[in-house]
Amino acid sequence: MASIISATTTSGLVNTADNSGDLQFQTQNGANTITLPNSSGTLATTANLSGLGFKNRVINGAMVIAQRGTSAVTTDASFPVDRFQLQVVNANLSAVQSSTAPAGFNFSTAITVTSTTSSGSNDRSSLFQFIEGFNTADLGFGTANAKTVSVSFWARSTVAGTYSGNLSNAGGTRTYIFTYTLAANTWTYVTATIAGDTGGTWVGATNAIGLAVRPIMLNCGSSFQGTAGSWIAGDARGTSGSTYLATTNSGAVVNITGVQLEVGSTATSFDYRPYGTELQLCQRYYQTYPGIGNGNRAIWSGYGAVANYAYWIFKTSMRTSPTIAGATLGTVDPSSPEAVGVYSTGSNYAAFGYNGSSYGQATATAEL
């Protein structure tokens, strides 16, 4: 049974005790009940409940979407999965979507140190995500009303150690370092609660960079080191005593998944969104076009009497006018009004000059 607190229509509030340890709230003479069991748990705070609509500000935190493909990337500013960038500064790294994942997840991003490099003062390699200002403005960073946020993710490393991650603003003038400890080859749930930054300059509701989330630093030179646990007026991304695999452990592998940034002082369960929703969120920053020809879709427009344009209408509005790339796209050909190349772009479309031949796949990139 349970100890009961009951709102009756005859005797008002009635309390009935027992020794089970459970507690039950009743209304309408016991017709409606809510029971708190005799076990541990956490009730969400009002702040957390208010974030249910878009609780996780990180997109593709479960590393599910990989529109660019599943080949490993090694260069700076490359994307092993959508929205997550590999930053490479004086490091030899390889990052790829991986099926190694903790219970409840199916993918992670695996980063391998292909060979170590000597530590340099400007080292700052990481896996990170820039979050758009439209999705962070309500946090109120840079104001007296800055909200407390919680960062959480799952991490696994072949090397035991204390690792650094951080949050920062776009300009790298405000940074908060957090540290965490991993045992070797063991998935660990990492959480960090961070009081909102009341200082500094933060981007508001714009399509620019709102903040950066870096779950792990792979190296971090002395110019980018600082103390964990408080906001720093500068670009400090890791502590001096942390493990930096890129400089110490050739062959080391670290996996990251379930990355979440939410409002509130408690990290809550990962915010699983429908696959289609997550894909659309990613396509605001990157999307592909299957190509023209062989029945692939295009909207046509004549220009004057001679020029044709094929309009690629984007699947979702992009953050800004994207960069268009594709194997067969070149400069507009001045010798032919039916030119091959990109004539114009907007956040919703790209117009290709079209000369009747097929185009290969094209990509539109509007990353932060």
Partner: protein
């Protein structure tokens, strides 16, 4: 390296983008586009894009 685009062959409008030569990507002149920001930085460092094909 970057390469300018010619004016439109029919309307003679000025180009609205520049080509990144290493991958042929077309970068719009949009201040919020990070590739355009990189292009502007590259120019500010004293570099000059290749002229458009057919340009005098």
């Amino acid at each position: 390296m970057y390469k300018l685009q010619p004016n439109h062959p029919i309307t003679n409008e000025k180009p609205q983008s520049v080509i990144r030569t290493n991958d042929g990507a077309c970068i719009p002149f949009d201040p919020a586009n990070t590739d355009y920001q990189a292009y502007l930085k590259w120019v500010a460092e004293g570099n000059t894009p290749l002229p458009a094909e057919g340009a005098e």
